[in-house]
C-alpha cells in the first residue's frame, strides 16, 4: 500500500501505516458482527423453544403472513447485497460514478424493503394481529391450514406474533441503520473520498449489509414458510 498524499492524510496518528489501520478496522467489523450474531441468537433460541412447544399455533401464525410480500422482500434484499458488492467493487477499482450509482441502487432497494415491510405491518395491524389486549385471531379460519386445529391456543399464536414483531423489528432497525451509513458513504463517494488506495469504509459497510441480508435469509423461512409444503 503506497502512502499517497491522499492516503497519508487518512492515516490516524496512532497507526503505523494504512495497512495496519485497515486490518484493524476489518477485524473490528468482524468482531462487531460476531456480537450481532449473539444479539439475534437470544431471539432465535426463544423462537426455537416456543416453536417446539406451540408448533400448531406457530404454523397458524405463519400462515397469516404474506408469502408474496416475504418473497418480494427476500428478492429485494438479495439484489441489494449484489448492488452493495458492486459498490465496493466500484470503489476498489476507483470508478467513482459506478460506485455512486451502485450505492444509490442499494439505498433504493433498502428503502423498497422498508416500504414493503410497512405495508405488511399495517395489514397486520388492521387485522388486529398485534399482541396486546386487542389481539384477535380467528381460530376457525386457521383450521384449514393446520393438521390439528384443536391444538391451537390463541395466546400461543400471540407468542408467534410477539416474536415476529420483535425479530423483524430488530432486523428492520438494522436496515434503517444500514440506510444511514450507506447514505453517508454515498455523500463521501460523491466527494471522491474513496479510491483504489482507500476504500475501507465501503468494504466494511458492505460486510455489515451482507450480514443484514443473511439475518433475513434466516428469518424468512422461519417466520414465513413454517409448516408449508
Amino acid at each position: 500500500m503506497s502512502d499517497t498524499l491522499n492516503g497519508q492524510s487518512r492515516l490516524a496518528h496512532h497507526f503505523v501505516d494504512l495497512q495496519q489501520q485497515k486490518s484493524a478496522a476489518t477485524l473490528g467489523m468482524w468482531l462487531f458482527l460476531a456480537t450481532e450474531v449473539l444479539f439475534f441468537g437470544g431471539l432465535f433460541v426463544a423462537y426455537t423453544l416456543y416453536k417446539l412447544k406451540y408448533y400448531e399455533a406457530f404454523v397458524a401464525g405463519s400462515h397469516e403472513l404474506s408469502i408474496t410480500l416475504g418473497c418480494v422482500n427476500t428478492a429485494i434484499l438479495i439484489t441489494s447485497s449484489l448492488t452493495m458488492a458492486l459498490g465496493v467493487y466500484g470503489a476498489q477499482t476507483g470508478r467513482k460514478a459506478f460506485a455512486c450509482n451502485s450505492l444509490l441502487a442499494t439505498l433504493a432497494l433498502a428503502g423498497a424493503f422498508l416500504v414493503v415491510k410497512y405495508f405488511e405491518w399495517s395489514a397486520k395491524f388492521e387485522h388486529h394481529l398485534v399482541p396486546g389486549p386487542d389481539f384477535q385471531f380467528d381460530v376457525t379460519h386457521a383450521a384449514a391450514v393446520v393438521a390439528n386445529p384443536e391444538l391451537l391456543r390463541i395466546e400461543h399464536v400471540k407468542m408467534f406474533f410477539i416474536l415476529y414483531y420483535i425479530m423483524t423489528g430488530l432486523h428492520g432497525i438494522h436496515v434503517v441503520a444500514g440506510i444511514g451509513v450507506i447514505a453517508w458513504l454515498y455523500t463521501q463517494a460523491r466527494k471522491g473520498v474513496y479510491s483504489a488506495e482507500y476504500y475501507t469504509p465501503v468494504e466494511l459497510v458492505g460486510l455489515y449489509w451482507h450480514f443484514v441480508d443473511i439475518v433475513w435469509i434466516f428469518l424468512f423461512p422461519l417466520l414465513y414458510l413454517l409448516g408449508r409444503h
Binding site: K53, Y54, E56, N148, E150, L151, L152, R153
Partner: protein, 335 residues
Amino acid sequence: MQGGLKFFPDQASTMAGPVDAFFFYLVGVSVFFTVLIFTLVAVFAVKYRRRPGNEQGAHIEGSKLLEITWTVIPLGLVAIMFFWGAKLYYDQERAPANALDVLVTGKKWMWKFQHSNGRREINTLHIPARTPIKLTMGSEDVIHNVFVPAFRVKQDVVPGRLTTVWFEATKTGSFHLFCNQYCGKDHSRMVGKVIVMEPNEFQAWLAGDTGLPPVASGELLFNQLACNSCHMGEGMLRGPSLAGLHGSRVALLGGGSVIADDDYIRESIVNPAAKIVDGYQPIMPTFKGLVTEEQLMHLVAYVKSLEAPSGAKAGAAETTSGATLAVDAATTAGQ
C-alpha cells in the same frame, strides 16, 4: 429446634447426615488448600524478604512437573466432589414410592398446605416423624422456594408447572420453613414452620379438622367439569382411560413418549395441546383459568388415585388405542 445461638444447623432429616458429611469433606479440602496457600505465602514472604544479600529473585521460569501435579490433584479432588454431589442429588430427586403426599401452594406471601385426607393448614406444616413426605408444589403468581434448613432440602416453586421435593424427618420438634426465592415485598415474611410429630400423634392431629381429601375433591371436580364425559365409561371413549396413567409411559402423537408424572398430568389439563396421546384426536379443551392451582392439584391427585384395572378394561383399551394403552396397562399392572 428454634432459638438459641447456633453455629451449626439442626440435623433433623435423613438427608441431613449425608449432606453434612459431604460438607465436611468440602470443608476439609478447602481448609487444606487454604492453609497450604496461606502457609506457603507467609513462609516465602518471610524467608525471601528483601534484605542485604537477597536483592534479586532467582530466575525460575516454571516447572512442568509442578504444573502437572497441581492440575491433576485438584482434578482428582473435584471429581470426587462431582460424583458425591451427584449421588446426593440423585437421592434428593427421587422420593420413595411410599411417601406421604402433601400439596403445597405458594402465593404472595403465604404457604398453603393440604394433607391427603383434606386437612388444610397455612404457613405451618405438620408431618409425622420417620415417614417420607413428598411435597407437590405449585405457585399462583411468581417463583417461590420451599426451604427447610434442618432437613437440607430446598426447591423452587414455579408458576406454570408442578415441582416436587421430598424428605424424611428424623426428629420431632418445630423447624423453620423459609421462602428462599425472592418474591417481592413480604418475601422475608413468607416463613412458616414444619412441626414434626410422633406418627401416632400425627394421626390424631390429622383426624382433627379435615375438609374434603384432595382425591375426593378431585373426584368431585372431575365430575363437575365433565371430565368423565370423555375419560370414563365403557367401550369407545373419546379420551384415553386415565386408570393407571400415573407413572406409566405414554406414547405421543408424532413419535416419542413421556412418563406420566404429576407435571405431565397437570399440563394435560391446562394445556392439552402440548402433548397429544397417540391414537387420539386433540379435542380436549383447556381447563386453564377454569380451575385454581389448588383445584388442579386435586384433579392431579384424583387422576393419580385411579388404579389400573386388572384385565377388565384392557380389552377395551386395546380396541381404542391399539397397543399403547395395553402396554401401559401391562406396565402399570406389573408395578
